[in-house]
Amino acid sequence: MNEKKISSTRCVKEDTISRIDEGEPDDLYFVSAGFEDRALSATESLDPGYEAELGLIYVNKEYFNKSEDCRTRRNLKELEELMEEHCDEVDVIMGSWLEADEQLFSLRQGLQILDKKDSLNITIDVTTFNREALLVSFNILYSICDEINTRVLYVSPQKHGNWLSKGHQSVRNVIGFAGIQNSSKPTLLAILSGFEENRAMNTIDEIEPAKVCVGVGDPPTKESFLHKNKQRQELILNRQDTDEFHFPADSIQGSYEAVSQLISDYSNEYNIIMSPMSTKLSTLGMWKAVQNLEEVQVAYTIPSEYNLENYSTGIDSMYIGWI
């Protein structure tokens, strides 16, 4: 099935999302209640006749409990109301953005109910999942069942805030992607870069690889930070060889191909660590490329702070892709 992009003016009114198999409801409609406005957009675009047996809403407890962030709670409530119109049952998975084990346990428990199925039709709005939860969810879903048909919805914003995240608390491997490192090989860190240049620099600084490959989204998400317009960037990037590669940020398949090529080019010489920091579509393209490559590690950098107030505004387009 082809990937499709729908402009914001049409995505709610004209191009609605119907069932994957017209004859029967989807097995799962899965969404995250993030703090951004666009957390609701895909669900609002569901066709009135859309049905799923199970609706799951993932939410990070840190935002849900944050007193100054009422957006997450409001989005969760609205998503519950919207999904009750389409799903036989709606459950909430309360996970954790900070605690990797808690995140895994909650997702595993929430998705366990699907393991009795022989095949699955899943529609997932990936827009406001944190990337780590998204990757862990896909690992679990694809371990539950061999025959899965996954439709991915992603809503891009009109505008991002001046900053998205600040600082970093830690860098860790995403559970399920520990990689196998050969001690005789140096490390290559490949970053699918987006808007969070500070987060990318912190990741390079923490991992201190022998080589960095910076993936620049094409169409570009932002001018590459490789231009070293800041002293700290220049210092960090100078400590190792640094190369650039390109990937289509708006395509799962295109990102899959770009990452597969990169791994094929470098895996003989380096231990590879992937760090996805661009769109969720490219994150899934990377997931597809590395899901069966046990040597490759996927790293996730936890920032100290997200721009809750002004992370993104408006809706630009909705992308529909398939795994």
């Binding site: 520990a178 005789s184 690889p209 046990e294």
Partner: protein, 599 residues
């Protein structure tokens, strides 16, 4: 590979050093001021130092390939007084500290961790034997025997599949080292499979091999000694960047250290001190300094107290200039002072000499001139609204605050800037003072903004909430030191430190702000003897990397201010009010303490 001929100040990440030839490492390494002899001793050692202080470079320098390079042949090295085999084992982020280990209980996590650590050390050992010794150094028969012995250290039933995996790729008889490397790789793969499976199914059991200290690591190292035919030569395991390990993994390392088998195996742990979380062992005992280990500390913050650091930086710079294509090897020539300021300070010194006579020759003439000349320069520059340039080799050494990378990296940027302006490396005979100063100012600003991120991992949410107060306090202090420096009436203008007159409980807000400042590195905290024998008190010295940001003197070290806790609290909120109140106090000069009288 990063090429030093293209930029004499190029800094490599520890991982990138792997590709730097032994000859280059030996050429570039400066032995002085590294306490190298202590590290070479047959003892367990902790090597403390912030990132960029040269720990990794030193450990690389101690690897066999560099020892052989320096001693000409392996035999000459092994016949020397302090021979050893150094196995560089980086604790790279994500290699041993796997997130999945959090899914296990502490005991199980420690067992898997120790096995993973052992496999990593064993892999590095094989890699060292394979790539750092001359070809055909080892006898084929001895290598086969070595591989068989190492294999026998594992439970044979547990490694059947790994043996098959290795044999599918290499023959044990034909290539024993490669065969063994594949076997170890397969064991790592088994751990990885288990951890991956564990993430999907909590009931997964680990059925692979495990290994410990006495049943694997120690006999492995004895086997290396046998292979070399040198039972008296100990193996040193250099665990670099051990701060990346989890606490329970550090406990494993501490347990190895507690065993005290130094005639066979010495553990040399390098880490930043604040990020090494525990000295406990697996059995909840503690390892103790002197008793169990020695330590070497790379941190040298008081550059004018320790001339060795300046000498070391000079040696490093001049060695790098020599190996690059720039046309000079002289540090001062390459990093000159600003001519205008040099002339100005000469004039000031002449004036001060006259003034000293007119004042009735108080104290020694040179002391008088030294005390006031630099401050007078800042005052005259401020009066004429002329910008101070932070430049010149000596001044940059002071600003680097005892961390070599803090010196090299800004210089690297300066060279890059000249190259961007179109100069070839062989045309760069000096860095213009203006460029030096611009880079150093930006460097100071970045340090203030970004230093907290370096230790954010170990900061609790509670500590993070004091960050804004701390940054305001730093600005308050910077402004206060600047105002005093440019005040011609100030008797001790060159001050960059303070003590506290009054109690600050550790659990008070102010106590936490000061503690956070120390952890981030904005302050170095020392102690001094109180007047009248009243014990010792804390003494906070502002990090000199910040000097260009606040336009203060990075070479200042002649006194300290005494501040009351109430005033420091104001400093956390309102720099202007803080400075106003403190300068009013100074009019009486009641609280100014002389550094010299209390030394």
């Amino acid at each position: 590979m990063i090429d030093i001929s293209e930029n004499p100040f190029a800094v490599h990440s520890p991982d990138a050093l792997k590709k730097v030839p032994a000859e280059t490492i030996v050429d570039l390494f400066i032995k002085e001021h590294t306490q190298l002899d202590n590290v070479k001793e047959k003892k367990h050692t902790f090597i403390w130092g912030p990132r960029g202080s040269g720990k990794s470079f030193m450990l690389r320098y101690l690897e066999p390939q560099c020892r052989f390079e320096e001693y000409s042949t392996p035999e000459q090295f092994f016949e020397s007084d302090q021979s050893f085999i150094g196995i560089y084992t980086p604790c790279k982020k994500g290699e041993i500290d796997k997130t999945e280990l959090d899914l296990l209980d502490d005991r199980a996590s420690q067992v898997i961790s120790e096995h993973l650590l052992n496999l990593t050390v064993a892999e590095e050992t094989l890699s060292t034997l394979d790539s750092q010794f001359p070809e055909e150094y080892f006898d084929d028969g001895a290598l086969i025997k070595f591989a068989e012995r190492i294999t026998s250290l594992f439970d044979s039933g547990s490694i059947t599949s790994s043996k098959e995996y290795a044999s599918d790729r290499y023959g044990l008889e034909e290539n024993p080292i490669k065969w063994l490397q594949e076997l170890l790789m397969s064991e790592k793969r088994n751990i990885s499979h288990y951890l991956q499976e564990l993430s999907l199914n909590p009931n997964t059991n680990y059925t692979g091999a495990t290994s410990g200290y006495h049943d694997f690591l120690l006999p492995l190292m004895e086997s290396v000694q046998d292979l070399l035919g040198r039972p008296g030569v100990p193996i040193y395991i250099f665990l670099d960047d051990a701060f990346h390990l989890f606490e329970e993994q550090q406990e494993v390392i501490n347990t190895w250290i507690a065993n005290r088998d130094q005639s066979i195996l010495c553990i040399k742990v390098s880490s930043s001190r604040s990020r090494y979380q525990t000295f406990e062992t697996k059995g909840r005992g503690m390892i103790e300094l002197t008793h169990d280990y020695t330590e070497v500390d790379f941190e040298e913050l008081y550059t004018n107290k320790d001339k060795q650091y300046a000498k070391k930086v000079r040696d490093i710079v001049e060695k790098r200039l020599e190996l690059s294509d720039v046309p000079t090897n002289d540090a001062e020539e390459f990093l000159p002072q600003r001519e205008f300021e040099q002339n100005k300070i000469e004039e000031i010194r002449e004036e001060l000499e006259q003034e000293w006579i007119e004042e009735g020759e108080p104290g020694r003439r040179n002391d008088y001139i030294t005390r006031y000349s630099k401050a007078r320069l800042f005052q005259e520059l401020a009066k004429g609204k002329t910008k101070k340039y932070y430049c010149g080799f000596d001044e940059l050494v002071h600003i680097s605050s005892g961390v070599v990378r803090n010196f090299l990296e800004p210089c690297q940027l300066m060279v890059n800037e000249l190259k961007r302006q179109g100069k070839d490396i062989d045309e760069i005979d000096h860095i213009p003072p203006k460029i030096q100063s611009e880079v150093m100012r930006q460097n100071a600003e970045d340090f203030l903004q970004e230093a907290p991120e370096k230790i954010a991992k170990s900061l609790s949410q509670e500590e993070m909430q004091y960050l804004d107060d701390l940054k305001t306090l730093i600005r308050s202090l910077g402004e206060l030191f600047y105002k005093r420096l440019i005040d011609p009436e100030s008797r001790q203008p060159r001050v960059d430190s303070f003590t506290v007159n009054g109690e600050i409980p550790d659990d008070s807000d102010l106590g936490r702000v000061l503690k956070l400042g120390e952890r981030i590195g904005y302050f170095k905290v020392s102690t001094y003897s109180k007047k009248g024998g009243g014990g010792r008190s804390d003494w906070y010295i502002l990090n000199r990397r910040l000097a260009p940001m606040f336009k203060i003197d990075p070479t200042a070290f002649e006194g300290r201010l005494t501040l009351r806790p109430e005033l420091l609290k104001i400093g956390c909120e309102d720099p202007h009010e803080f400075v106003r109140r403190r300068l009013n106090l100074d009019e009486d000069q009641v609280s100014l303490e002389s550094f010299k009288t209390e030394q």
